[in-house]
């Protein structure tokens, strides 16, 4: 494997950092959303479902633009967060993480929701009759049983985040060290004549990371599922 230049390392390290935080912080939200969609019965459930899947269907650039309008320096949420908590997304890796998280969210929710639906709701009823309230039932019964799905969903989201480009570049542009993730770097190199070797090297790395993540996701999910089944 040929060695990487400092610029290439920077892009790779930034991608890993952005994807990690995007996945880690959206996991609780994704879990809650999947739970609500799987077990909830309320008006507007299909609207929620639609919203969750929107990033999957909208062109990434549109999603990026919407993020820019909402979380940018002058956007309603962005300005509020900056003024009250000092959280800034504009042109920062936090913005890249937000874009990656939003784009990966539907995949995460889908995977977790499927695994929740696979848990026999009657087991949850049984836990209820034994005195466990909804929270305890979730923690002791549901969560361990959906763990394979949660892990698979997280890894899938991580892989998607690693590959996120359109929304990121529209929202926070491409700033080396801050928002120039692996895909943005690859794109940049292809735009410059003579940038092919770098682009190719980074592409191979991106493919390797994605394949590793997907294989690991499968492996972990199967291991955990087997352990639960056999006790």
């Amino acid at each position: 494997m040929p060695t990487l230049t400092p610029d290439e390392w920077q892009a790779l390290a930034l991608s890993l950092k952005v994807s990690f935080w995007a996945t880690a912080l959206s996991l609780p939200v994704g879990l809650l959303t999947a739970l609500v969609l799987a077990r909830g019965t309320f008006r507007g459930k299909s609207i929620l479902n639609g919203l969750v899947h929107l990033p999957l269907i909208l062109p990434p650039v549109v999603t990026g633009y919407l993020l820019l309008l909402t979380f940018g320096r002058r956007g309603p949420v962005g300005a509020f967060l900056d003024a009250n908590f000092g959280i800034v997304f504009s042109f920062r890796w936090t913005g890249a993480a937000l874009a990656a998280a939003v784009m990966a969210f539907p995949l995460m929710v889908r995977a977790i929701r499927l695994s929740i639906e696979a848990v026999d709701a009657r087991l949850e009823d049984a836990a209820g009759t034994l005195g466990a309230n909804r929270l305890w039932t979730f923690v002791i019964v549901t969560l361990p049983l959906i763990l394979p799905g949660v892990i698979a969903g997280a890894i899938l989201a991580f892989a998607k985040a690693m590959g996120e480009f359109g929304a990121t570049i529209t929202f926070v542009s491409s700033i080396p060290g801050e928002t120039r993730t692996l895909p943005a770097a690859i794109y940049g190199y292809t735009q410059v004549p003579g940038g092919q070797p770098q682009a190719m090297r980074l592409t191979l790395i991106a493919v390797a990371v994605a394949m590793t993540a997907l294989i690991a996701s499968e492996f972990v999910a199967r291991r955990v599922a087997r352990r639960i089944r056999d006790g």
Partner: protein
């Protein structure tokens, strides 16, 4: 302790409308599939909210739609044993059992883990995973788990339905012990008359969403009017009988209220009171004491009640001493023998089935005062 259930709920065109009060002991909720039994039990457990209803267990109001009371299921303290067991697959047997204990309120009397395990004979299974247990073992663990949640009442929804005959026979004694040795009242759903006959103190018979008959087990099972609910093959009275002695030729002699009974050797010590079941189809009615017949069990009786219906067969309820026995004969014979309430006769019992043990207490409740 009592169970007070009144509810009304509609499923499409099927309307469930029940109203009954049951005393302590095992209350069997009997009926055909679709009669509404599981709905009633789910409503008591809090898994289903009926359109209208009022459920009071041991003085505690769990549901009262009129006053907006609906205690959530995790606070009702009703132990539920499901048909499929529903053990948590990712926890060991020990952890499944302990689960109930984790959420039992501190103020409730804590059942003793060792005692429950001994009662159900599951000591050897504690470290196994639920996936590796047989059906009967799973059910026993499920019962133990429900007991350990210190419930004020146990619900059992056809707990033996998914088991084969051998497993059923294996568990029934444990259920009898449950009935006799714990103070916990049980609402037992079943469509199997044999189970009801063996275990029930009180029977609530449901038909088409309504309570068709309610009363002490002995009364309901020997009621000629209620016999159609149980079907021609299964209808039959249960009576208590005390073992007197075991004869060397392989027969045991028992004393029932209305006479002596001889059964093939019974594995119980003299003095033990047992529950015997007499299928209606196994009873022949004679006007005179028969001579020179092979049947050994002949009890003098008086016709008490003739069942309704128009078919070729008819059910009779006969009084034999303090007990009642159900007989199923042809209408032709009914007319030919001119049987009517008050007519003395003889009940010839072709076969007597042994159903199980009777504890002193249950026998007392079982033989209701109002005869």
């Amino acid at each position: 302790m009592s169970l007070d259930v009144r509810l009304r709920h509609a499923f499409g065109s099927f309307i469930l409308d029940v109203d009954f009060t049951a005393p302590a002991g095992v209350t069997a909720l009997f009926g055909r599939s679709g009669a509404g039994k599981t709905t009633v039990v789910n409503a008591v457990a809090g898994l289903l909210r009926p359109a209208e209803g009022r459920i009071v267990v041991d003085g505690a109001t769990l549901l009262d739609t009129a006053r907006g009371v609906d205690v959530p299921k995790h606070r009702r303290r009703i132990g539920y044993v499901f048909q499929e067991g529903r053990l948590f697959p990712h926890l060991s047997v020990r952890q499944n059992l302990a689960f109930g204990g984790w959420f039992a309120p501190r103020t409730a009397p804590q059942p003793d883990f060792g005692q429950v395990v001994a009662l159900l004979g599951i000591a050897g299974l504690l470290d196994r995973s639920p996936g590796l247990l047989s059906g009967g073992e799973k059910q026993r663990v499920a019962i133990g788990r429900a007991l350990l949640s210190a419930p004020r009442m146990l619900l059992m929804d056809e707990p033996l339905a998914a088991l084969d005959e051998e497993r059923k026979a294996e568990i029934l004694p444990y259920l009898e012990r449950l009935r006799d040795e714990t103070r916990v009242p049980i609402l037992y759903v079943s469509h199997a008359v044999a189970e009801v006959a063996r275990l029930a103190t009180t029977v609530v018979a449901l038909k088409d969403g309504r309570v068709a008959r309610i009363g002490a087990a002995a009364d309901v099972l020997s009621d000629a009017g209620a016999a159609p609910l149980f079907g021609p093959t299964e209808a039959g009275a249960v009576i208590g009988a005390r073992v007197l002695r075991h004869d060397p030729d392989g027969l045991s002699e028992l004393a029932a209220g209305g006479g002596r009974l001889l059964l093939p050797w019974v594995a119980a010590a003299p003095g033990t009171t047992l529950r015997v079941r007499i299928h209606a189809r196994d009873v022949i009615v004679a006007l005179r004491q028969p001579e020179a017949i092979s049947a050994l069990n002949v009890l003098p009786a008086v016709v008490a009640q003739i069942g309704g219906g128009e078919g070729p067969a008819v059910d009779l309820s006969l009084i034999c001493g303090p007990d009642r026995v159900l007989a199923r004969i042809t209408r032709r014979s009914l007319i030919a023998l001119d049987l009517a309430p008050g007519r003395p006769c003889f009940a010839i019992l072709k076969s007597v089935a042994l159903e199980g043990r009777e504890s002193g207490e249950t026998t007392a409740a079982f033989r209701a005062e109002d005869r």
